[in-house]
Structure formats: structure tokens, C-alpha cells
């Protein structure tokens, strides 16, 4: 079994664990908190997606990059991503603890600054990748962007027809995560064409 698949299996076990805990919270076996079920379900879903991504990836994931290139990417990607996770764990409490509008704006936009740094790392990764990898990345991002646009347009039509009622906050917050998730899945399909 490749190292990639071993990591995938760990992600699957973590994902199943988180989804089970989410189900137990939803059924009142474990005490609920604000948004706890949703957060657990999202984290569990992300872990399961990671399993799909690593399990069906042809060969090893580092085969798609050079060592120096990958090292630079992780160096630029990991700190803002880790900071983003830390900020998001305390973001709601932090926001509730201040009254001044300017400070609330700053705290509200803090995750965006960190995400901008993550996007910068990804953009530099794509820019300096070799020509075939750049083609794979750009094709995946383009198709994922098209799919996100299609999903949102469909939801917009359903909402206009009063068949669903999505909150604007949830809809706006999920654009980027949905793009990232679909990009990963699309890339998985595209990369298999060249394997």
C-alpha cells in the first residue's frame, strides 16, 4: 500500500469517528453546543473527502511536483492555514467580546487575510509548477469554477421559485470551500488521464 493510501485510511477513520460523534450529538447522546453537529459533520465530511482524494490518487501525491517546489509550497501554505484553523476556533467568541465597530470589522476580516495568504501560496505553486502540472491545475480550477457557478445558479433559480430558502450568510461563506472541494475532486479525475 502506498504512503498516500495509508494517510487516506487514517483520514477515513477520523472522518467516520467525527460523523459518528456528530450523529450522537444530534440524537442527544452527547450534549449539544451551538453549531456543534454542523461543525463535526463538516470536519467529518472533509476527512472522508481526503480519503477519497488520497485513495484514488494514482501513485504517490509527491510524484506531481519537485521536492524544492513542494517544500516551498508547504512552507508558505501551512502557517496561514494553521493560523486560520486557530482563528476559526475562537472567531465567534472573539467577535462577541468586542463592541467597537472598527475592531469587529478587523476581527471579521481576519480569516480573509489568512485565506488570501493561502491563495497566494497556491497561486505561486501553480505559477512555478512544470508545464504539465500547470495545465492539470488550471484545467481543474477552471472546471471547478464552472461547476461552482452552475451549482449557485441552480440554487438561485430554486430560491427564486421559493423551493428552497438558503441564508445569504451560508451561501456566501461556502463559495470558496466548495470551490476547493470541487477542485480537488476534478483534479483527481483529470490526473488519472495522465497516469
Amino acid at each position: 500500500m502506498t504512503r498516500c493510501r495509508r494517510i487516506g485510511l487514517v483520514a477515513l477513520l477520523v472522518g467516520i469517528g467525527l460523523l459518528v460523534v456528530a450523529a450522537l450529538v444530534a440524537h442527544g447522546v452527547i450534549p449539544d453546543g451551538p453549531g456543534r453537529v454542523f461543525r463535526l459533520a463538516v470536519l467529518g465530511g472533509i476527512a472522508v473527502l481526503m480519503w477519497i482524494y488520497t485513495w484514488f490518487w494514482p501513485g504517490e501525491m509527491h510524484d506531481g511536483t519537485t521536492q524544492a517546489h513542494a517544500r516551498r509550497y508547504y512552507r508558505e501554505f501551512a502557517p496561514p492555514m494553521a493560523a486560520y484553523v486557530v482563528v476559526m476556533m475562537s472567531w465567534t467568541r472573539l467577535l462577541a467580546s468586542v463592541d467597537a465597530t472598527w475592531l469587529r470589522v478587523l476581527i471579521a476580516l481576519l480569516p480573509t487575510v489568512l485565506v488570501a495568504l493561502v491563495i497566494r501560496a497556491a497561486a505561486r505553486y501553480v505559477r512555478d509548477a512544470d508545464e504539465m502540472q500547470r495545465r492539470l491545475e488550471l484545467e481543474s480550477i477552471a472546471i471547478a469554477a464552472g461547476l461552482v457557478g452552475g451549482v449557485y445558479m441552480s440554487l438561485g433559480f430554486l430560491q427564486s421559485a421559493k423551493l428552497i430558502a438558503l441564508g445569504a450568510e451560508a451561501a456566501m461563506l461556502w463559495v470558496f470551500p466548495l470551490l476547493c472541494m470541487l477542485y480537488g475532486l476534478v483534479k483527481l479525475v483529470i490526473v488519472r488521464r495522465y497516469a
Binding site: 506531481g64 519537485t66 509548477a129 508545464e131 504539465m132 495522465y194
Partner: protein, 64 residues
Amino acid sequence: MNNRVRELRDAQGWSQRELAERLDVSRQTVNAIETGKYDPSLPLAFRISKLFGLPIERIFQAED
């Protein structure tokens, strides 16, 4: 497009990873070129040609 990249690499005794390092591309890209799933750009084809010391047309041939 057909190519002799695998044959030339084998003759040098290099692994795909070693060739990838010499060309500054990923191993996946070398594999895709060797299996004919990806045709390299002209600059990369020239780098391959220079590395093996052969003219491009001796490495890459158009399919009939």
C-alpha cells in the same frame, strides 16, 4: 506523437525521478511523456534533446 524518451533514459540507467530532476519537472510529467499521454512543449522538448545529446527529430516522431 511517438517518442524514445523511455528507451534513452533506460540506456543512461536513470530512473524516472532522476530524469525528472535533470529536467526540473515532476516524475508524473516524465511518466506522461514516456507513455505518450502528454506531448511536451517545444522548450521542454529542446531540454530533453540537449540532455540526451540528440536532435529533437531523433527523439520525437509525429504519428502517421
